[in-house]
Every structure is written in C-alpha cells, then in structure tokens.
C-alpha cells in the first residue's frame, strides 16, 4: 500500500485550496449533498433512502433537493424502522442497486445492528463474493453540538470491530466530497461517519472542480489512506473525523510553545493505513491518539496497540490516548468536560517523557 501523493488536506480552517478554480466557501454539509447528487446523476442505480430524507432533505439537510431533482423513486422516506431500512438496502443491493441509507443519528442506527453485523458485513463472504453489497450507511456521528442523549454517540468501534465493513470518517470539506463519492463507488459496504459538528465547517472549494476531478478518475484514493494533515517532527497526533480539528488546534498551540507536532488524519478507520501512521511515529518517536469515543476497547485502543506493536523500538514514551471517558455521552452543559480538548491533548503530549531517561 502506498501513501496518497496528494498534498495534505487543507483542514477545516478554510485555507484556500491552491488547485481549485473559482473557489468559494462551501460547507461540509453542502459537499456531502453535492457528492450524493453527483453520484446519483452519474449512476442511475444509486438510491438514497431513510427517515425524513425526502421532501425535508434530512434533519441535517444532507439530502436537500434530491427528491425534487431525482424523483421520489430515487430519494425517498421509509417507514420509521432502521432494521427495515438496512434490511431493504441489503435486498436492493443484491438486486443491482447501490443504496445509500441515512441513519438519522448515531444511536438510532442500533436497531439495525443485527442487519449490519450478520448480513451487510457478511453476505459477500458467505456467498464467496457472488453477492456484493455496495451499500453506504451514512451516519451523522459524534458530539460537540450540544445535543441531548442518543444524539451524540461515537459508534465507530462497533463497526470497526466487525469484519467486512469499510469504516470512513472524513474531517475536511474536500474529503467529505471525495470520500462519499468513493464510498458510493465501492463494491463493499461502507459505514460513512459524518461528524455532526463539522457539518457547518467551511472551506474554499469549487464543487464543480471536485466533481470533474472525481469523474475523471483523478482523485487519489482515500479508502485505506491516511494523510498528514500537518507535518511536524517532535510527536505525532493520530486522529480522525471530529477530532482532527482539535488535534490541529493542539498542534498549533504546541507550535507556539516551540514543539513541532505532526497531525495525522486517518480518514479511513478500516482499512487502516499502517504505513502512513507508522512512518510518522517512527520519525517522531512519540504519539498520542485522539478520539471522541469512550476509550475502552475502542478504535483508539487499536491504534495504540498497532503503533506499539510496529514501532516499539522507535518509541521514546508509551503511546497515549486522549479519548472520551467511559461514560454515556453527557448533556450539552457537560460535554466540554468529556470531549478531547486542546488542553488535554497538550497535557498528554507534555507527559511523553521528554526528559532524558525519565
């Protein structure tokens, strides 16, 4: 596996994208919407369905305008039943369609868990690849938006632990577009995690240009490819999805204190890009994994485990984690105590045994 040759993603800070023509401020949400519309236009077998994704355009408006443009046979509301949505998607995918389904919020995907684990993930293997399931499960994901209970779960570990699923989490507007297009084009089922708190983040990108790049096959592959979101030399922060901007902010703050921190944006949780991650850690000798989900038996645990297995002799200190606590996601007034913060990341970096022989 080779690392993408594309330049580091511009982050969510709105840095202008040098390659794009006529850039303008585009939100993450709008990029997803454009990716869906473009995919539906180029491939008539792409369908979009779920709860409130029709005339309403989804509670986050990611499917805005799709019913009007493609008709209610291509983008439609279902009865309110997530297992039903997922199971119907399996059948449609068996029969030539490419369903994209929306689970309204992370915790409302749990009723579909059996369908996801026992069928979406396993049907291709069970049939020796005869039945492929090109399904994309879109999940507005994670917290930081002041949501109430059940609306802010970070559920990636459940999916990442389930063999057969591809699990993606974009962190930038460009990646939102390209990764959703790539997910829809993938012959394998993809769990596509959309960090809610980034929906309204903006970048200067030209969606028409992104579309041309993708349709021309010029977009470098992102599934299985991490990217160095900010280069550095002293330590590596490994993050994905909603934690990438936090990690970048921490790196910026550290820079002011004279520490050069590299930030990796995984983008793809499964497959995992060992090469990019380990190359960085071997260079810096220190690593902290940043993720919102409760830390126990999580994707963050996996990253720590892999990095120390593969980079043990390059490590000057244990690989640390800054994750959510092992508690239910807290309410709006308390979420900032729970979420990985710049300070908590800097504390972790500080404890990476910088003194000789500590």
């Amino acid at each position: 596996m080779t690392q993408t040759t594309e330049a580091p993603a511009p982050g969510i800070t709105g840095r202008p994208d040098a390659g794009a023509l006529a850039p303008r401020a585009t939100t993450f949400a709008k990029a997803l919407n454009a990716a869906l519309a473009d995919a539906m236009e180029v491939d008539a077998s792409v369908l979009m369905f779920g709860e409130d994704v029709g005339p309403l355009g989804g509670v986050f408006r990611i499917t805005d305008g799709l019913t009007a443009r493609f008709g209610e046979e291509r983008c439609f509301d279902t009865p309110l039943a997530e297992a039903g949505i997922m199971g119907m998607a399996v059948g449609m995918a068996m029969n030539g369609m490419k369903p994209v389904v929306e689970m309204q919020f992370d915790a409302f995907a749990y009723p579909a868990f059996e369908q996801v684990v026992s069928h979406v993930a396993k049907m291709p293997n069970r049939t020796k690849g005869k039945v492929r399931l090109p399904i994309v499960i879109r999940i507005p994901y994670a917290g930081g938006i002041g949501g109430v209970e059940h609306h802010c779960d970070s559920s990636e570990a459940y999916y990442a632990h389930t063999p057969g699923l591809t699990v993606l989490a974009p962190a930038t507007v460009r990646d939102a577009y390209f990764m959703l297009r790539e997910a829809i084009a993938s012959p394998d089922p993809v769990v596509f995690l959309e960090p809610k708190k980034l929906y309204w983040s903006k970048e200067e990108v030209d969606l028409a240009e992104l579309r041309r790049t993708f349709d021309d096959g010029q977009a470098p592959r992102r599934i299985g490819r991490a990217v160095v979101a900010r280069p550095g030399t002293d330590a590596t922060l490994i993050s994905y999805g909603p934690s990438v901007p936090t990690a970048l902010a921490a790196a910026a703050a550290a820079a002011e204190e004279g520490r050069s921190i590299e930030v990796i944006d995984l983008r793809s949780i499964v497959p995992f890009d060992d090469e990019t991650v380990c190359a960085s850690v071997r260079r810096t000798g220190r690593a902290v994994v940043v993720a919102e989900a409760p830390g126990f038996a999580s994707v963050a645990s996996e990253i720590v485990a892999r990095v120390q297995e593969r980079c043990f002799h390059s490590l000057a200190a244990p690989v640390l984690r800054v994750t959510g606590f092992d508690i239910p996601y807290p309410s709006p007034k308390l979420e900032h105590f729970y979420l990985p913060s710049v300070d908590r990341i800097l504390d972790a970096v500080d404890s990476l045994q910088w003194e000789d022989g500590a």
């Binding site: 709860e51 279902t78 915790a107 807290p330």
Partner: protein, 400 residues
C-alpha cells in the same frame, strides 16, 4: 382450526391461537373513531362508551388549560434560549391529559419525548421534567415517585419496558396497570411489534396508546402505513383495538378509562389509537413548511380539543366565567413557576459524570474522575491566581 378463544385471564400465558370468526372480529376497532363531543361542543351518545360525568370532565378540562399553557410557555422559553429544544404537544393536549388522569396511583405511565404535559399532569414537578431539556445531564425526575418512566427518545423501546413493569406487577399479584404511549411513526419499529406480542402472550395489563398525529417529523402517515387504521394492528396480537377522536377529551377519558378497567380486571392488554394532529413543527429545530402546507394545519384548528370542551361545558353551565378565570390563573401560576425556575442557571457538577454509571465506580472511572478533578483544580488555581483568590474546594467534587 382450533376454536378456543384467546381469553387467558388469570393464567400467566394467555389463551391459545384460533378463535371463531366473530370472536376475532370483536378485536377489530370501530369503523370510525369514537367521538362523544364533536368539534362544535355537541355531545353524542355511544352505546359502548358512556359520557364521563360533568365533574370529571371539568376537572380534566382544567388540566387541558394548564397543558396548553405549559406548551406555550415552553415554546417561549426555547425562543429565549432557556430550553435547548421542546417537542410540543400543542393540539394533542386532550390525549396528554386523558393518558394521565385515567391512571390510579398504583399505575405506571410510560411517556415519550413529546409527552411532557402528560408527565406534568400526572404530578411530576414541571421543573424536574424540563431538567434534561435545559441541558442538565439526567432525566430530571425520580421515576418511582409518581410511577412515571423517563421520557423515551429511542422510539418504541419504552413499550417493552412497560410490558416488563406490568409483568413484574402481575407476578407479584399487584393490580397495577401500565399505560404506554407512542406516536404513529413509532408503530413501524420492531419494538412496537414485540411489545404488543409479549403483552398479549403474557396477558399483562398494558394499555398501548398511540397518538396518531399524522406525522413522524416530516413523514406523513401514508408513508408509515397503509393499514385501514393503526388500531387494526391489535387483532394480529390477539388483543382488542380501538380508535378514538384524539381531540375529544370526553371520548379519550371514556375509551382509555375502559381500557384501563379492562386491564385491571384481568382482561389483558389493548391498543387505543387516538386520531389527532401535530399543530406545530416536530420541534423548534424543525421547519414544517418544507413538507406540509399551512392549509393542512388550518383544517385542524376548528377541531381543537380545548375549544370543543369549553363549548360543551359552557353550554351545560358546568363552566362559568369565574371558573374559566380561575383555571386560567392556575395555568398562569404553573407557567410562572416554570419561567422562574428556568431563570436560575442549571448548576452542573462535572464530578457527577462518573457517579452513576455503575453502583460503585470502576477503577477505570476512578482514574478518569481523578484526571478531570486535577484539570479542574488546575483551572481553578489558574483562575484564582488571576483573581488572586483561592479555590481549592472544587477538587473535592467527586468525593461524596
């Protein structure tokens, strides 16, 4: 094939499948929803459901007035940013009130996120009820105090809890009845199906109460079901289904009351569908103009539950001008309490995040609580240094 009936009174496991066609048809709902007082306030007699007496209606009408006031007040508080979100039951208050008042003290109510008015009507402190929506971290009230479960968010899940509560009570020989609420959308979930089936098979005293308000967020009923009515689902579980005008307080009291009596007398579960309408957006965060016209909504204005009950009570002189004033005053008082209560900021203690996850904190949670405590202490020290005061106490937050 078999001709046994499905009346399993008294036994833990209900009857056996089968039944004569006529017995089976008795489980079907009436062709039209039961209505006792029409939108103009005229009463109609119904063979099966006698009109509740005037005192009972008047009492419930008072709760209706307060219920509407609570909805209006909560909406206002959302606009002022004092509540995070409020799913209003404006227009559905007759359902809310009836669900609460048909129950006795020993009974349980299982509400959803939209049933705040029902919960308050049952006696729970309004400020406690609104705790979560203010941004605090817990559900707000002690479910055991008034036998009201927490307001369920994951749709239809609570219906199964209701069955379990009823089952436990039945095993202990208690006469508890459980009334479990859900929306039309929630009937599509697998848990709805499993709950009704479990209730019927175990023949437990649960009244399933669907508020069919014609929408699940933006999705209209016709995309949710093509059944003749939601109450027609009951026969598939071997329990009776009934339909009622959900804006007719009198009919709701009669129909739900009968269902509760039946359950208490060992008659097993039943399903009641109330036909009503969600007059406002799903919540303040929703934009209903994207999926329905104001005309649609306007059509329901004349069917308002308050208007007709007021007309009925005034016509019969059960309600006087002073009576109305005093009900309005009562409602105002509740609204004032809510306003006042929500003026004081929620005090949250971050140490509590770790207190209730397990009965006893795991060593993992002890470490995590300590980490947060240290951070807060450092912040406090920094603040103190800045203000050149002292603030050592906050480190003790989680020692209780």
């Amino acid at each position: 094939m078999s001709t046994a009936t499905n009346e399993g009174r008294g036994s833990l496991i209900g009857g056996v499948p089968g039944g004569t066609p006529s017995a089976a048809h008795a489980l079907l709902p009436s062709a039209e929803p039961v209505q006792l007082v029409d939108p103009d306030g005229r009463s109609h007699s119904d063979q099966r459901y006698p009109l509740p007496d005037g005192g009972r209606l008047l009492g419930a009408y008072g709760r209706l007035i307060t219920g509407r006031r609570i909805n209006d007040q909560a909406n206002a508080l959302v606009r002022q940013g004092r509540l995070a979100v409020y799913p209003s039951s404006h227009g559905q208050e007759a359902c809310q009130v009836a669900a609460a008042v048909v129950l006795g003290e020993e009974d349980w109510l299982f509400p959803t996120y939209r049933d705040t008015v029902a919960v308050i009507t049952r006696g729970v402190d309004p400020l406690e009820v609104l705790t979560l929506l203010r941004g605090d971290w817990h559900a707000g009230y002690d479910p055991y105090e008034h036998r009201v479960a927490t307001q369920a968010t994951p749709l239809a899940t609570q219906l199964l809890h209701a069955v379990g509560v009823a089952h436990a009570a039945k095993l202990r020989g208690e006469s508890t009845v459980v009334l479990a609420m859900c929306g039309d959308g929630a009937t599509s979930e697998g848990d709805f199906h499993e709950a009704l089936n479990f209730a019927a098979v175990f023949h437990v005293p649960v009244v399933f109460f669907i508020q069919n308000n014609e929408f699940a967020i933006s999705v209209p009923l016709k995309n949710q079901t093509v059944a003749p009515s939601l109450a027609h689902k009951a026969i598939g579980y071997g329990m009776p289904g009934e339909r009622v005008d959900g804006n007719d307080l009198a009919a709701l009291l009669a129909v739900l009351g009968a269902a509760v009596d039946r359950a208490r007398d060992g008659g097993g579960p039943s399903l009641v569908e109330a036909h009503t309408y969600r007059m406002q957006a799903h919540t303040n965060a929703d934009d209903a103009t994207r999926y329905r016209s104001t005309d649609d909504v306007e059509r329901w204005v004349p069917k308002d539950p308050i208007v007709r009950m007021r007309a009925y009570l005034r016509t019969l002189d059960l309600l006087t001008e002073e009576g109305e004033q005093s009900l309005a005053d009562e409602a105002d008082a509740v609204a004032a309490t809510i306003r006042k209560g929500l003026n004081t900021e929620v005090q949250v203690n971050p140490a509590e995040l770790f207190e209730y996850v397990y009965t006893e904190k795991t060593s993992q949670l002890r470490e995590q609580a300590a980490l947060l405590r240290e951070e807060l202490a450092r912040d406090a020290d920094a603040d103190a240094a800045a203000a050149s005061g002292a603030a050592g106490d906050s480190t003790e937050g989680d020692q209780r």
